[in-house]
């Protein structure tokens, strides 16, 4: 994983199918839901990717990770004024509070 350039230079927990499924268990969201678009490439971040990234840290942190990616998306895409957002990214905008409630 490190040789493929994943991660920050420290060991990662391999995001096996089993671990990722454990991370997603108990959530209202379903696998494949787009949680946000992540800069710099604004690639859609499906819930599984969030779970996989969380898997690199700790499984009990899934909610923080999903909320974190939502907050990060909002901060980067909508810096204070929804009307000035790039229309391409409008579909991503949902208040963070609503998103956290759905977790």
């Amino acid at each position: 994983m490190l040789e493929r350039g994943f991660g920050d230079g420290l060991p990662l927990v391999p995001p096996t199918r089993e671990r990722v499924e454990r991370m997603l268990r108990g959530m209202a969201r379903t696998s494949g839901d787009v949680v946000g678009k992540i800069p710099h490439s604004y690639a859609p971040a499906p819930l599984e990717a969030g779970a996989a990234a969380a898997k690199f840290s700790h499984p009990s942190h899934i909610q923080i990770t999903v909320a974190g990616s939502t907050a990060g998306k909002r901060t980067c895409i909508c810096p204070g004024n929804v009307r000035r957002m790039d229309p391409e990214h409008m579909d991503c905008f949902t208040p963070v509070s609503e998103r956290i409630e759905t977790l």
Partner: protein
């Protein structure tokens, strides 16, 4: 595995069996042997590969290389290898990791004091010499940040040894008030080729061909001085000195501190022909305040104890004595790293250095260091 092979070189560490249905990463978290981030499982194969990379002076796995505080527990080559694996280090980093242990535990570095304090001190690790290139360290873009495996894991290996062997567990003996990212890992290499000065280790008496790990005990950083406009060495140093004056508390003094100068700030010094001694002298000058202005103040906060003038019977002349941010110019340590796209200097500060002002006998700071053996 509590056995050793006939040549006595096998590891002796107890092997922990993990049931098939247990997740090995969760198991290691549950055992309390990590710093909160995942560790690489120290399997027999991985530990043997690490041991095979030990320099010739450390060939026996049971050789004790240090006594690690706070428990003063013996650190064997084998235990060092196990923790190096867990930190995520490659075997080729092992000689540098062992040098870091030697520098940390050799008596020059305040290792016990840095753990058994609320201050959250930790060793900042600088690597110089050919080894930094051999193991692929980063001294360029984001050199003090994440991403490079050698930079990330060298410092972490030492911290894991202090935790798992020495017993430096936060909330137990380790009582850092707030801590900081520097307590996970903080290691980098110097941009020796671009530096306007001789490499850091050469400045401190080593040969250029030596590879050396140097350690500075710091409480945190970076306090970044971003000055994109100063075009003279004097103006730039004034800027850096004012940023430095604010660390810990503006009226207080501080112990040895590392200034990591980016290549574009180094250009300013190169253009004006400034040596490190020139920078030190200027920082001493720019941060100098009369002693009375370093006393604790009802409006400007902490400094030297406000009862000091009475307690020590300080005269008016003594109260006018200039005191710089540091007691001695050698406390100002300077190295070069970073990308070529910005005028940055990062300050990694020590701990408060205010003492009895009448007894200020500046001692010269020599960074604890050790040569990387091969």
């Amino acid at each position: 595995m509590a056995s050793t092979d006939p040549d006595g070189r096998s590891a002796l560490a107890r092997v922990i069996e993990i049931a098939d249905h247990d997740d090995v990463y969760e198991f290691m978290f549950d055992q309390g042997i990590t710093d909160g981030l995942p560790v690489s499982p120290p399997t027999r194969d991985r530990v043997d590969r690490m041991l095979a990379a030990a320099p010739s002076d450390f060939q026996h796995p049971q050789q004790v290389i240090a006594s690690l505080p706070p428990n003063l527990a013996p650190l064997t080559v084998e235990k060092a290898a196990i923790n190096a694996v867990m930190a995520g280090a490659k075997p080729e980093y092992f000689p540098a990791i062992l040098a870091a242990v030697e520098a940390a535990a050799g008596g020059q570095f305040p290792l016990h004091g840095s753990i058994a304090t609320t201050a959250g001190l930790a060793p900042m690790m600088l690597v110089n010499g050919p080894e930094r290139e051999r193991i692929g360290m980063n001294w360029g873009l984001n050199a003090l940040g994440q991403g490079n495996r050698a930079n990330s894991t060298l410092g972490r290996a030492l911290r894991l040894m202090l935790r798992n062997v020495g017993g430096a567990v936060p909330g137990e003996i380790e009582q850092a008030i707030q801590g900081g990212g520097h307590k996970w890992t903080l290691s980098y290499a110097e941009d020796e080729d671009y530096s306007p000065w001789e490499p850091y280790h050469v400045e401190h008496g080593y040969e250029r061909a030596d590879s050396v790990v140097s350690l500075i005990p710091i409480t945190g950083g970076p306090r970044v001085c971003i000055d994109q406009t100063s075009r003279t060495a004097r103006a730039l140093t004034g800027s850096i000195a004012m940023a430095f004056q604010q660390v810990l508390k503006p009226r207080g003094q501080v112990t040895p501190t590392m200034f990591v100068v980016s290549p574009e700030h180094a250009d300013v010094y190169r253009a004006d022909g400034w040596s490190k001694a020139n920078i030190r002298e200027a920082i001493m000058e720019f941060t100098a305040l009369p002693l009375r202005e370093r006393l604790a103040s009802p409006t400007l906060g902490g400094g030297i104890n406000e009862y000091a003038p009475e307690k020590y019977g300080l005269s008016e002349a003594q109260l006018d004595m200039p005191l710089s941010k540091v007691a001695d110019p050698s406390f100002i340590q300077i190295s070069v790293a970073g990308s070529h796209a910005g005028k940055w200097t990062s300050i990694y500060q020590g701990i408060f250095g205010d003492g009895d002002p009448t007894q200020q006998q500046p001692s010269t700071f020599v960074p604890p260091s050790a040569r990387i053996r091969t």
